[in-house]
Amino acid sequence: MMVTYSVALSAQDENRTDTLKKDFEIKPFVRLGFDVSAIGRSIYEPEVRQLEFSIDSELLRNWFFNLEAGMMQVSSEQETFSYSADGFFIRGGVDLNLLERLNAQQNDLVLIGLRYGYSFLQHEAPYFFIENPYWGSHSGSIEKTPYHNHWMELTGGVKTEVFQNLFLGWMLRVKVPLYRTTDPAIEPYFISGFGHGKRSSPVTVHFSAYYRFGL
């Protein structure tokens, strides 16, 4: 009887192990994301409007391949200057999930990653006025000029499934410039997908919402 009981227990454990193994199969999906933090930016920096979308998929276990793209517009007309810019950007790269997956239903992620980014914009200053108490004021205009920027990003963040297939997450991005247009007529105020033009290596935080579609 004891032998029979121990054999039954052993069979039950094997079934549980098989179940665990089956739960770790990767089901193909595509996850679409939208950068919600742009809405926050529009409150404290209304002159800059940026839209960003993303798409990612787990093509290898715990490796997520990402594509991000968006558009930017800057516009300000004031007594002493007028400035406008519009552009687009694209980023591609990979994220690695550091969080142990306990079962197939757990889709929460803690990610580190790498990106390559490129942006293009055109900007102009139809007029500006600069005071100089000693030599006299200076005024002028700058015609529409193009600007290119290439950079690498180190990323880190989380994505957590708040409802089925609906994710929220944030991503910290450390940007390392690779190449930008040299000696431009005017430095851009804001570079699409990169950050403020006056910062050489901006660090930004993005908050996004995602929806996962099974394939």
Binding site: D13, R16, T17, L20, S37, G40, I43, Y44, E45, E47, S76, Q78, T80, F81, Y83, L99, L102, N103, Q106, D108, V110, A125, F128, F129, I130, E131, N132, P133, Y134, W135, G136, H138, G140, I142, G157, V158, T160, L168, G169, W170, L172, I186, E187, Y189, K198, V205, F207
Partner: protein
Amino acid sequence: MERNLTNIPKKKYLVKTVLKLLLIAGFLLLLFPSCLNEEVCEDVSTVPVRIGFYFDDENEAQPVLLAFDSLKVQGLGNDSIIYDYRYNVSRIELPLNSNAESSVFLIYYPASPEIAHLVVDTLRFYYDVKPTLISMECGFVSFFELKEVRFSRMLIDSISIEETSIINNFDEHIKIFPFFDDGDI
């Protein structure tokens, strides 16, 4: 090693809780830049070229700051005096002309009144003007990219261009080394 299945629900709850806390922390980080985004615009329309006077002391690894008893500095073609025989001057800041590609300044050293107009050096700066939008609150300022600095040699022995980009930071751009004679300045 077998997994303890009874611990999985507790772990899952813990992971969810930690991630939700991280989510809230990340959201709060978003608000942080808005708190820091306070631009102070006081007098940022002119970015001066910063100059220090030094002498080489053989006992020191770095040049030593030199102070003039008094100094008068004026832009050529401008009646306004920038430094009107200010005392104990070791550093000066000179505004560059955004309407031109060069600016000339006259440095008058302390001397008796009969010859004061003769004891003078000329500094000429050649540069590119770079209008820059520094913020929506402050608007445009003129930055400069120094190309060349020429000087006369009444009392100036040599100069060193430390930084060619004249922007809104506190870097010293030029070091001037006067002819140095102990006790005479």
